[in-house]
Symmetry: C2
Subunit: 395 residues, 2 copies
């Protein structure tokens, strides 16, 4: 059996997304900046895609800037807020310790440019409270950037409340919604969001395309110089097939959000319930405020990478954390931030589901994960020390 | 009859490019950073695409960084050279007045950061000579960036000779080869190129993907912060379908370069010969050092935009200059740089061909362009003044 349980890393493109894309590859292939009809067909399709995205985000079409992906959108949002802040002498930014590297590394860069960065701690379930944000905001704060849902442990943040605080205090609020969309409802006005990043390949759309919502009136800073595409905010010939396909995938996912969410949550809950029975294991993240498809456990006494390779041999695609950081020997910064010790953080497993996963697959996952954890523990000198009492169990 | 003669703006994706892309949308859809087999299939395909590009550029696979397009590649090349230059106290960059805005606007930005920019004049045919470059290089020069072929007037620069001078003087040489590839041969070693930008959608590949070649040893500066993709040079999940498709399109075009070039040049030459017979018209660019598919004329007494709209009504897609700058009321900076007065620069027409254009299309183009120029002139008060002698003809 083959089970793809790494949908947080990337997803298979849906039929809807592929079908939307194909005509723009060889029939409507114009450059939307061209004045002729082939170009104008592309320009109209681009506008329509912008309207579809806007409709499902509760914003205006002109508030959307298409980018090459979520990382670029995160970078542009943060950089823009920093430039605006600097003009007013406000050089303080608030974020959390569990953001994606696209956010954390951009903040590192700004820190070297004289910005002061406050990275809030999160609670053991991965949640940052609105009160923490309120306490951290100062006169000089120009931006709060906090992800909607975490890519590793699936924790959903109270972004509407955080947004309300930012609004009250007159501070820009950006949220990286790359993992949240479109599993969770988004309405930028109701949730008080000033800027929001999305990536199409996380919701069965194409790789290489994303978008940044920025509330009208916020002057964006360009990351790339060149032509005047995207109202001058993002030069380069627009990736029309990718953009059209993203809009189709997003619309499809938003339309089926409730049923997909119900189905995937049920699969997730079964996994969580059963894997919790593995001795000396612990669920990472929050039980209630959790992405429908996210399961993340630490198993004491094993290496996450070894487990992944064993699972792969049995046809299961999973992850130990973020794909973007894989290959790194460091334990996940997210797991460390929720208080897992190094040894425990190394033994993590993320299973991320989507609506095409089945009950049978979940049963297979449970069987194989349980077996392989036991197999690896039996081979592990650390496990032997734990069992013999030479070392103390932490979980 | 429908004739697409705006291939310099963008091209229709070829069957080869589409067929290469499709399997990576729904069969091999993994994230190459994932350790499991679905991810590793994607990683292997990515490496193969890198090797294909490298093979046809005469470089090593590790010297290639995939980007979201040509503009991003131009930006990253120039910014990287600037950062390296600044470390050595070298803050002088040489370019030309006819570069793409992705280059010129990046140089503008650096100029505001204290860099001194020399924009070389070009001769009336659009050519900059190696001697001009040699004379402009100073002790503090950190970069020469000159395009391989111009997007508007098709002029091919003597980049191998310019590269040799840069190499001798120890100055980095970048070339924007977005319009050149793959109509002209590229070998980065033989042509002494240190950095080179490409965009897939100019050679029947997909929009939203490009690449930067940078000679090993050149430390790139990131434009986007985030994960460690592309050896840390370009964060964000790789656009695997786009990259695979670009490599297939590039390989296809390189393989058929000679026959395509011969065919397209013959069509171009017929257009140039016949359009030269239109009274008070002038060819822009060089007759000999010219892209195979580029035709660019100024017709006195008419507005380029009016001509484009008339042509569009007759099924012909053409351009008055760069698509990236269309919508702007300013005349082309390229036409001004080659000495065309404002009034003449406004009356420009660019026809850019590819190998799927036919003899019949060329005949139709000739017929319609000639008729429409005459039609518009008959309606033009400027033309009446010219004919009556109230104004002097410039052409």
């Amino acid at each position: 059996m083959k089970v793809y349980a790494d949908n947080a890393a990337t997803t298979r493109m849906s039929r809807v997304a592929i079908d939307a894309m194909l005509p723009f590859m060889d029939t409507f292939y114009g450059n939307p900046s061209s004045l002729h009809s082939v170009g104008q067909e592309a320009a109209e399709a681009l506008q329509k895609a912008r309207e579809i995205m806007a409709q499902h985000l509760g914003c205006e079409a002109r508030e959307i800037t298409f980018t090459s992906g979520g990382s670029e959108a995160d970078n542009q949002a943060i950089l823009s807020a920093a430039v605006l802040g600097e003009k007013k002498g406000k050089k303080h930014i608030i974020s959390t310790k569990i953001e994606h590297h696209a956010v954390l590394h951009t903040l590192d860069k700004l820190s070297k440019q004289g910005f002061e960065i406050t990275l809030l701690d999160v609670h053991e379930n991965g949640i940052v409270t609105p009160q923490q944000v309120a306490s951290a905001i100062r006169e000089e704060t120009c931006l709060v950037t906090i992800m909607y849902a975490n890519n590793e442990i699936g924790t959903i943040q109270p972004i509407a409340e955080i947004g309300a605080i930012c609004k009250e205090k007159g501070v820009l609020f950006h949220t990286d919604a790359v993992q949240a969309a479109p599993h969770l409802p988004i309405n930028v006005n109701e949730q008080n969001i000033d800027m929001l990043s999305l990536a199409a390949h996380k919701f069965h759309g194409p790789k290489g395309v994303g978008m940044l919502y920025s509330r009208k009136g916020i002057l964006l800073t360009k990351i790339i110089e060149g032509g005047s595409q995207e109202r001058g905010n993002r030069p380069g010939t627009e990736n029309i097939p990718g953009i059209i396909s993203m809009a189709a995938a997003f619309e499809d996912a938003c339309t089926h959000m409730d049923e997909n969410s119900a189905k995937v949550s049920a699969l997730r809950d079964k996994l969580i319930e059963e894997l919790s029975k593995v001795p000396h294991s612990i669920l990472n993240g929050d039980l209630e405020h959790r992405l429908p498809g996210n399961v993340n456990f630490c198993f004491e006494g094993i290496e996450g990478e070894a487990l992944l390779l064993q699972l792969d041999r049995k046809g299961i695609c999973a992850s130990s954390g973020s794909a973007c950081a894989s290959g790194s020997l460091d334990p996940s910064h997210v797991l460390l931030a929720i208080g897992r010790p190094h040894e425990i953080a190394h033994g993590s497993l993320r299973l991320s589901l989507c609506e095409s996963n089945t009950e049978e697959e979940i049963d297979y996952l449970l069987k194989v994960v349980t077996e392989e954890v036991e197999y690896l523990r039996n081979m592990s000198p650390v496990w032997r020390d734990l069992v013999s009492g030479k070392k103390q169990f932490m979980l």
